[in-house]
C-alpha cells in the first residue's frame, strides 16, 4: 500500500522537474545565459551572454546576412533557424544592421558565419542548461 502512494508522488515530482527544466531551457534560448543564471551557474551565464552577444554585435557590424523567414531555398531556411537560435538577440541583430547585409566582400561573409555560430552556440548553451536542470549535467 505504501508503494501505491509513493510512486505517483515521485512521478508528479519528476513531471514538475521536467516542466521547470523545459522552461529553463526556453529561457536560456530567449535570453542567452538566462538558463544558467536561473540555475545559479553565474560563470556560465555571464560567458554565454557575453560570447553570444559579442558574436552577434561583430556579425551585424561586419554586415553579415541576418536571414529572414522568407528564404528562397533550404540554405536560407537553415540560416534563419541558426540565426533564430540567438533568441531575442536575433531582433537586436536585425536592428543593429542599419545598412543591411553586404556579403560581396569577405567581412560580410565572416559576419554571416559569426551570426549563425552565435545562434547555434546559444542553442547548445540552452540545451546544456536544460540538461543541468534535469540533473544530468554538472
Amino acid at each position: 500500500m505504501a508503494n501505491e502512494t509513493v510512486v505517483p508522488a515521485a512521478v508528479q515530482q519528476d513531471s514538475r522537474r521536467e516542466t521547470i527544466a523545459f522552461l529553463i531551457g526556453v529561457g536560456g534560448w530567449l535570453v542567452p545565459g538566462l538558463g544558467h543564471a536561473l540555475l545559479r551557474m553565474w560563470g556560465r551565464a555571464v560567458m554565454c551572454f557575453l560570447t553570444v552577444g559579442v558574436l552577434v554585435i561583430l556579425g551585424a557590424g561586419m554586415r553579415g546576412n541576418v536571414f529572414s523567414s522568407s528564404g528562397n531555398d533550404a540554405f536560407d531556411t537553415l540560416g534563419f533557424l541558426a540565426d533564430l537560435g540567438t533568441g531575442t538577440f536575433y531582433l537586436a541583430a536585425r536592428s543593429l544592421e542599419a545598412n543591411g547585409a553586404d556579403v560581396s566582400h569577405a567581412g560580410g561573409d565572416y559576419g554571416t558565419r559569426f551570426l549563425a555560430t552565435a545562434g547555434v552556440l546559444n542553442l547548445l548553451a540552452a540545451l546544456h542548461s536544460y540538461e543541468a536542470a534535469r540533473g544530468r549535467k554538472a
Binding site: 542599419a98 567581412g107 565572416y110 547548445l124 546544456h128
Partner: protein
C-alpha cells in the same frame, strides 16, 4: 550601433576572434573547475588556429 559604425576585420583577425570566443564558450560549458577551463580554452584555441592555418595553406596551391 549607428548607421556608420562597421567593423573592418582582416581574415586573421576574424579567425582569431572567432576561435577565441568559441573556445571560451566551450571551455565554460564543458568544464567546471577554473584550471580545467583554462586548459580546455588554451588547447581548443590552439587547435582552432592550427587547423585554420593548416587548411589555409592546404588551399594555397589552388589559388594560383
Amino acid at each position: 550601433m549607428n548607421a556608420g559604425m562597421e567593423f573592418k576585420l582582416s581574415h586573421l583577425q576574424s579567425m582569431l576572434l572567432f576561435a577565441l570566443l568559441i573556445s571560451i564558450a566551450f571551455g565554460f560549458l564543458s568544464r567546471r573547475r577554473p584550471i580545467d577551463r583554462v586548459k580546455y580554452i588554451v588547447w581548443s584555441l590552439f587547435l582552432f588556429l592550427l587547423i585554420g592555418v593548416g587548411i589555409g595553406w592546404a588551399m594555397y596551391p589552388f589559388s594560383h
